[in-house]
Symmetry: C2
Subunit: 337 residues, 2 copies
């Protein structure tokens, strides 16, 4: 019961000595491996408690060649891309799943060259047991590094032009199609789109979904009006759209932040939503509920994305070979469309 508060960090040797067993037995007891008699196991446990012993992670890592950590790397030249609440939710999910596997989470914001270099080091030095990779753009140097890495790598969202072995993605095409179809079903015919960066697979997939739905309904898809998933870019794109196609009566924005920006521009332009222009977003971020009017949007399981990525990674680390996963999306109708 006497929680030891020894100054110096105690070692396994000390535990073994106090328990009157050899270091090997103590080690086995600790990792509850077989071949330890009940008596000694208990003696070791007692000693551990008495000494307040905690194994030294580095030593263990060195011996087992496992670090006990997984990395989540977020690519993007501007670190503020990470400020998008999207990532926070991914992290919540990933963190929970990693906790279940008793792995620590290392976070790498690979924005600068320096940051990328460090990620590369991490990959090559086996500084983690596995990596989750997010927000890759076309020709992202991180993709190549990851390919070469001898380490489990799970992609969050498919990277452009690559077909990785392990990834978790969201049904972007289906979601975008559903959103557009909803707009069409509500009687809109001049439906434009504000799309995300087209050098990302998300951006492309959502545009593809929009276009598919338009074509299927015999409508003319608008050319992509580009945003970068941020609120200001959505606002600007909406303004451009309004200037070019004043007669539009519907907008599918490939992200809620952009949709919020579009809403702001429409409000400022005196175009009531949804009576004049209907707007549908994508993501179902908190902002969609707080927007005015509340945003009809495509819900995607963001936390689930993080969770599944982590789970998949854990499975790979455990020697399994899970199959890629595509998470479903679903339309959430609110007031904006």
């Amino acid at each position: 019961m006497t929680e030891g508060v020894s100054r110096r960090q105690s070692t396994l040797d000390e535990v073994a000595e106090l328990a009157g067993v050899s270091r090997s037995v103590a080690s086995r007891a600790l990792n509850n491996a077989p071949h330890v008699s009940r008596a000694k196991r208990e003696a070791v446990e007692r000693a551990v408690r008495q000494l307040g012993y905690v194994p030294h992670p580095a030593a263990r890592a060195l011996a087992t060649r496992q670090t006990g950590a997984a990395a989540l790397v977020v690519s993007g030249e501007d670190p503020s891309i990470f400020a998008d609440p999207f990532f926070a939710q991914v992290i919540v999910g990933a963190s929970a799943a990693l906790e279940d596997a008793d792995l620590h989470l290392m976070l790498c914001l690979a924005a600068s060259d320096r940051g990328r270099k460090r990620v590369e080091q991490l990959l090559r030095s086996k500084g983690a047991d596995g990596v989750m990779l997010m927000a890759l753009r076309e020709d992202d140097p991180l993709a190549r590094m990851a390919e070469g890495a001898e380490m489990p790598v799970v992609f969050g969202g498919r990277p452009v032009g690559l077909d990785p072995r392990w990834y978790v993605d969201v049904d972007n095409v289906g979601g975008a199609r559903a959103a557009t179809e909803y707009l069409i079903a509500s009687g809109r015919t001049r439906i434009a789109t504000i799309c995300g960066r087209l050098d990302t697979e998300v951006g492309r997939a959502r545009y593809r979904g929009y276009r598919d739905a338009m074509l299927a309904a015999g409508l003319e898809p608008y050319p992509p009006e580009g945003g970068d998933f941020t609120e200001p870019s959505g606002s600007a794109a909406m303004a451009a759209l309004l200037a070019r196609h004043p007669g539009l009566d519907g907008v599918f924005a490939a992200g809620d932040n952009m949709a919020a920006g579009a809403l702001r521009t429409l409000r400022e332009a005196g175009r009531p939503v949804p009576s004049d222009v209907a707007v549908v977003g994508f993501d179902d971020l908190a902002v969609s509920r707080m927007a005015d009017p509340p945003l009809t949007t495509v819900h995607q399981p963001i936390e689930g994305l993080g969770r599944e990525m982590a789970r998949m990674l854990v499975a790979i680390i455990d020697g399994q070979d899970p199959t890629p996963l595509i998470l479903p999306t679903r339309l959430v109708t609110r007031a904006s469309a």
Copy 2:
């Protein structure tokens, strides 16, 4: 030039052998320590490049007793508290500063008991070189753990009832006072407040600032109407306030999310902002710019908070003893007040 792509991870011994030097020299060359002749240093560098050698972090950690990582732990029983974009910004700042010091970022969301246990292990096993601690509540078990830890600990925001040696905080009292004074200066007299959790120092400090300003102006401060920094809580608190004090003409909300909620309730209640009720928030999150009307709020340097925490931690790790830091806040006037 031949980037080696050896399957197995190469070791320092191999580098040394290839360079024709001893392991010691190779090690010194790598860490550019003194006592290595120019020739050998170059030979080592060449060998490193040829082998694509990257030092093994665990081995290094074991030998140096330094892990090369710092942890950011966010406390809170509900992991979704972390979804607040506030933390994302803190992370961006901290990440950048840690990168400068070549430290990795470990993220711990200490929500469950299990999570807390893991943090404790981390603290006691020296699994990181230092820790940044955020969002502590009154009687947070994490505080005690941190006190006992023989590891540099920097607090982000002062914890309730403790006076830690190292912390970075934001001038919450001053910011809240400025916000309230602004409301007063604009002629409002019946100014209520929606405060944050009063079991956190932030919540208390902001209420104190509000109260100070009210008293100084000879006005009667309203009793704290409680929120928990989330949008729904702000909305609910506003509704309660409206029911209790229909005549109020100003509200200071101790957080932008809550302010956004208040705005929503006011809109739904048909109380125009700011003509009828003026609203000031705190945080200057993205939502404040996107709100309708755009929110007058107290800007706090969130990324700076993260950055300074990390810098302070690095300084401590380097053996210095920096003094606590209180970052300034400043009022940003927009349309809501």
